[in-house]
């Protein structure tokens, strides 16, 4: 009898627990979920280029949870890290269960266009043009033939500097020309500062920018592919400028150094004023050196009689939706949820990056970046401004460029002759 009573009590307790458990489940997933959410029952698989312990990964997970609460759609995030670029191609070809993925927008447009959805109609219906930088949409459309991705993390390149050191040296205006820039460097030296940090990893970026100013990206790509550097007066002048820059002692002590030692010196030593890089350098330096520098940025200065006075590098990590996804609209809505409004602002603030939505505000570490980004009215420059065009010679060209910054060449002619010797 006692056993029976005990059994009944246990069964009652288990049933009560089960009911209570179910009750908690529905309550925990929010009022909309499971009770008429727009995407109830929809599951999205999201391959991320971030890791779950990175600021971007954390905000992404928060956004996924909030999206689920709001719409009922479950977003399963697989944090693949940067190695996503080595596995995504095979996964797309095998039509693996992926609804959305993050990648560099030029790879999405040029390598994976056959496997991603055309977002043109959905973007138009959502008014995406008002919440994005058109330059990235135009470029992705030009490459792929259709709008193939949504910008998540815009990037822009130029000269990033410590505003406090500029103020202290009496530099009141950002240099617009190479002569102004050299004058600013001299003022910094006179004030006891070191003008320019440079890690060998970004030597090509620095020289690429200067070459672009003299002869334009297209001509740089042509020289990189076929040689003939010594016959191009602009290329020789660009190299000569760099040789003079090094000889004038405007590079920081030890530069070109091993990444990220030189750029870190801006925060650690505090007496290095500038670095030529993309905007993520600010958060890297802040994080590595444990400082909060007073960052600002200006576009790379123009040279007299140069071919491209105003172009700037701009790129983007973007979100694409697979062409075989069965929930493309839900995937698109999640992408929009992430790259506009509250979560885009949160992403920008947490990861110290440029917000993807121009209606949001850039954090202080990104001062100046929005102005440069908005000033671009044509195609942005690509990474290294054409110096990457020859895959076979890329590392050999980089070797010559680093040697130039190490001061191993005494003239522009020597630099271009060394480049020509590679062909």
């Amino acid at each position: 009898m006692k056993k029976k009573l005990m059994s009944i009590l246990l069964v009652t307790a288990m049933t009560a627990g089960l009911v209570a458990g179910c009750g908690n489940g529905s309550g925990g997933s929010g009022g909309d979920s499971g009770s008429g959410g727009e995407y109830d029952g929809v599951e999205l698989t999201y391959w991320s280029m971030w890791n779950n312990n990175e600021p971007q990964g954390k905000v992404l997970q928060e956004a996924a949870d909030a999206f689920e609460e709001q719409t009922g759609a479950v977003v399963n995030i697989e944090f693949r890290g940067r190695d996503i670029s080595t596995v995504i191609s095979a996964s797309l070809e095998a039509e693996e269960q992926i609804d959305l993925f993050e990648e560099d927008y030029n790879r999405i447009a040029l390598n994976y266009a056959d496997y991603v959805a055309d977002l043109t109609d959905m973007a138009e219906a959502a008014g995406y043009a008002d919440n994005s930088y058109q330059i990235f949409n135009d470029k992705a459309t030009e490459w792929a033939g259709f709008l193939c991705c949504i910008t998540e993390q815009p990037q822009v390149g130029g000269i990033f500097y410590n505003q406090d050191l500029f103020d202290d040296a009496g530099i009141t205006e950002a240099p617009a020309t190479w002569d102004d820039f050299l004058a600013a460097c001299q003022k910094l030296v006179d004030a006891g500062y070191q003008p320019m940090a440079l890690d060998s990893a970004y030597a090509m970026f620095f020289f690429g920018y200067h070459l672009d100013r003299w002869i334009g990206e297209e001509a740089v790509a042509e020289l990189t592919t076929n040689g003939g550097w010594s016959d191009n007066e602009g290329a020789v002048s660009a190299a000569q400028d760099m040789v003079d820059f090094v000889n004038a002692g405007y590079l920081a002590d030890g530069a070109p150094d091993e990444y990220p030692a030189s750029q870190n010196s801006m925060g650690i030593d505090g007496d290095v004023a500038m670095v030529v890089c993309a905007n993520y350098v600010t958060s890297e330096v802040n994080a590595n050196s444990g400082t909060e520098l007073n960052w600002n940025m200006f576009n790379y200065p123009a040279v007299d009689g140069g071919a491209d006075p105003t172009g700037a590098y701009a790129g983007s990590n973007s979100i694409a939706i697979t062409s075989y996804s069965e929930n493309q609209q839900a995937a698109f809505d999640f992408a929009m949820f992430l790259v506009t409004g509250e979560y885009d602002q949160k992403m920008a603030d947490t990861a110290n990056q440029i917000p993807a939505d121009p209606n949001n505000t850039a954090p202080e570490s990104q001062n100046g970046t929005i102005e440069v980004l908005q000033s671009l009215d044509s195609s942005p420059l690509t990474w290294n401004m054409g110096l990457n065009s020859n895959a076979d010679l890329q590392s050999s060209i980089q070797d010559v460029v680093i040697k130039m910054y190490e001061g191993q060449y005494s003239s522009g002619e020597e630099v271009t002759a060394a480049l020509d010797a590679l062909y």
Partner: protein, 297 residues
């Protein structure tokens, strides 16, 4: 008898199938791929275009491939001599009856337990750094300054030294196992005959370690050919000529680089085939040069 055959087939079939699918198929596919123009590694066969030997001709005319092979050969020859010599020296010392043998053996082997990423970071940031690196401080104490260990001229050697440091312990252990296998009565007889330690080493230890040398040279060759991580760590953002090696070049060719979306899985396969031929050649030559079947003990 028939039953036995059935059993044999049943037991060997999974192994044979696994070998064929997991090993032979990728090898054959890679060799075939090396004669085709293919953008993506997993592209459908219908997207392949026949290139003949163009992929190989392109490789042999590529300055980066040639530099990568030169770097690999330098690592193989100079790094190999350094690693195996130091490993052998440590092995001989540790088997000579010194005190704290276990401690030293563990200490020398320790870098093999540590992740290569951590080890490379330590060398780059704490040994070679121009501001606060250990080498800079030590040389600075003697008044020598201004050496950029990670500049274009020294970076390769800086990387090689760091790599050798990490590799010595592994080869030392193999040498120790070989030395401990040699019967001690050989040394006792030599001592009675008046041979000193150096003579014993030259006349007993070295000849009886021939098979171990063969093993170590093969392992070292494979290690050099798969030398990837150290090169990536010493040129972390983009590949530099001073540290490029064939597998890094292969990776760049197959997957593209930052700012360059060109991909060529066919050329990547051709690099893989040339490396496989290199290993086979090393194995063949080592077997021909080092004969270990003339000694029994």
């Amino acid at each position: 008898m028939k039953k036995n055959k059935g059993f044999i087939i049943c037991f060997t079939l999974p192994c044979v199938l696994t070998l064929l699918i997991m090993y032979l198929y990728p090898v054959i596919r890679t060799v075939v791929m090396s004669f085709f123009g293919i953008e993506s590694v997993t592209a459908d066969f219908s997207d392949w275009t026949f290139n003949g030997v163009d992929n190989y001709l392109r490789l042999f005319g590529s300055a980066t491939y040639i530099r990568a092979m030169q770097n690999m050969l330098l690592i193989w020859v100079i790094g190999g001599i350094a690693t195996l010599s130091i490993g052998l020296l440590f092995a001989v010392i540790l088997t000579s009856g010194i005190r704290f043998k276990k401690f030293f053996r563990a200490a020398i082997y320790l870098p093999n337990v540590i992740s290569a990423v951590a080890l490379a970071t330590m060398w780059i940031q704490y040994v070679y750094n121009q501001d606060y690196g250990m080498l800079t401080r030590i040389l600075g104490f003697f008044g020598i300054t201004g050496i950029n260990w990670l500049g274009t001229d020294l970076k390769f050697w800086a990387m090689l030294i760091a790599f050798v440091f990490g590799a010595v312990g592994y080869y030392m252990l193999i040498f120790i196992s070989g030395i401990e296998r040699i019967p001690s009565d050989l040394y006792e007889a030599a001592t009675i005959d008046g041979a000193n330690k150096v003579q014993q080493f030259a006349s007993i230890t070295l000849p009886l370690l021939k098979s171990i040398f063969k093993t170590n040279i093969t392992f070292w060759s494979v290690n050099c050919i798969t030398f990837f991580l150290w090169s990536r760590m010493f040129s972390s953002v983009s590949t530099e000529a001073s540290t490029v090696v064939p597998v890094v070049y292969l990776y760049d060719v197959v997957f593209g680089t930052k700012g360059n979306v060109q991909r060529d899985a066919g050329a990547g396969a051709a690099i893989g085939v040339t490396l496989a031929i290199f290993v086979a050649l090393v194995y063949f030559i080592t077997n021909r040069l080092i004969k270990d079947d003339d000694l029994e003990f």
